[in-house]
Symmetry: C2
Subunit: 274 residues, 2 copies
């Protein structure tokens, strides 16, 4: 008997016509009122990866969460709007039929793929020196949400507050993470990992206010080969808030593999209440 990995289940897409795919929300990645945002990002990347006209590998991804997906089928529209010699520009949207039978946009996205060539390279964000994943305890998934069960996380610093007592603290988190069960890293999985961090405002204020990502951008620095080398190893994620103001904050994040390669950098702007 072969078990399909929960992530591969969630990424299953049926091509119905050129640039159109049908998917289905995955109970395994359910958050409080809709799918985990990272899984939507992963599905969008998967659709580009599957497209027969794709040139190169993902370089940049922006996902705008326009409205919550409801449990059920959805349609992906994936269009390569411009293909250059070494870059390709994509626009994407996720559509779903609402309660009144209207087809509505739940998500918009843009992706750039690129054929990369070896050049002078340097990392100006070396991986911080932290304890090895094996030396850190595994975090029990909290909040009673399903998608957290899909990740193995080992906190270095900046975990979910033990007491929601309104005390303030820095908004920096570092944690080792990987898919649960382990699964060889690829671009969709990496896109999802970039959105794993709990809302910085919860950490900053030790207050569990309503919060949700409005827009996330991921820059992929890794090649397919580097992801393959990373395999089922851990990824060190670091996230920090920059500005919390009048209902929105932004987060900057970095993801390294165990060998210290910066695989991706990411930013998001997040709604919060109060």
């Amino acid at each position: 008997m072969t078990m399909t990995h929960p992530l591969d289940l969630a990424l299953q897409l049926q091509s119905t016509s050129s640039g159109q795919y049908e998917g289905h929300t995955s109970p395994g990645y359910w958050n409080m009122v809709g799918p985990f945002g990272g899984i939507t990002a992963a599905v969008l990347v998967k659709a580009v990866m599957d497209h027969p006209d794709r040139l190169g590998e993902p370089l940049s991804l922006t996902v705008n969460y326009a409205g919550a997906l409801t449990a059920g089928p959805y349609t992906l529209q994936v269009t390569p709007v411009r293909t250059n010699r070494s870059t390709q520009h994509w626009t994407l949207s996720v559509l779903q039929t609402d309660g009144e039978g209207n087809l509505v946009v739940t998500t918009t996205a843009t992706v750039v793929t690129a054929v990369r060539r070896e050049t002078w390279s340097v990392s100006d964000e070396p991986m911080p020196e932290v304890a090895a994943p094996g030396d850190l305890p595994r975090i029990e998934p909290g909040f009673g949400v399903e998608w957290l069960q899909r990740y193995e996380m080992r906190q270095v610093q900046g975990g979910v507050p033990k007491d929601w007592d309104g005390s303030t603290s820095p908004s920096l988190s570092q944690l080792w993470m990987r898919d649960n069960p382990p699964r060889p890293l690829d671009f969709p999985a990496l896109a999802a990992l970039a959105d794993v961090f709990f809302p910085r405002v919860w950490l900053r204020r030790a207050r569990q206010v309503p919060a949700g990502t409005v827009s996330i951008t991921v820059y992929f620095h890794a090649s397919q080969d580097q992801l393959q080398t990373t395999g089922t190893g851990y990824v060190l994620g670091q996230a920090r808030g920059q500005e919390f103001r009048n209902g929105f904050f932004d987060q900057t994040a970095r993801l390294w593999n165990e060998a210290g390669y910066l695989l991706a950098t990411s930013h998001q702007i997040v709604y919060f209440k109060e």
Copy 2:
């Protein structure tokens, strides 16, 4: 006689039908082989600001530079794809007729606008302590490109290398900047300022290799009121490279006003050669 500010000239748009605008590239913001990327970002923000159905103020902007605009007219398509109670999601594209008479996409973009309410707020990126703009010399615009004449810049650190000798240095720049001649700050002007920094790879390597922005994201933390208060004052811009790898690097940037308010944070991924 009233003189129209060069930025307002560049931002002139004619609404031709619902969500469609005609613009014209502006010689005043010409870069080497096309318009300064920041001016394209500014025009896109302007189009959203002009749209009669707009809800709230710009919160997030992503611009993907798919192909160079050529000197001449262009068409903007601006669609509010989803309007929620307090956020609105926009997709945009810039189209131009190419040499063979085909309408091609030169730029894609997404914008989120939002109605913001006063909440708990905190800045985790305080403005660095730097010399006041009046104590720093004005930089002579270089490279013989026109758009640099449209900005007054006073470098704090990390200026354009004097010698292109291939020596390595940190990729951090700080400079005071504002429109030239001074013009009250608004969302389009702020979007353009986020793209003012010269390519980090030039600074990092003291080598003037071909480079160009592929995708930029700007998160607006300022309200219209704060921009109005900033007026014609200077903006402190700080930019830094994070990862330079195989033909692309990413840049993270922050923009404060003289009062120390973080007006915007921004990120971009940039192509470079060699």
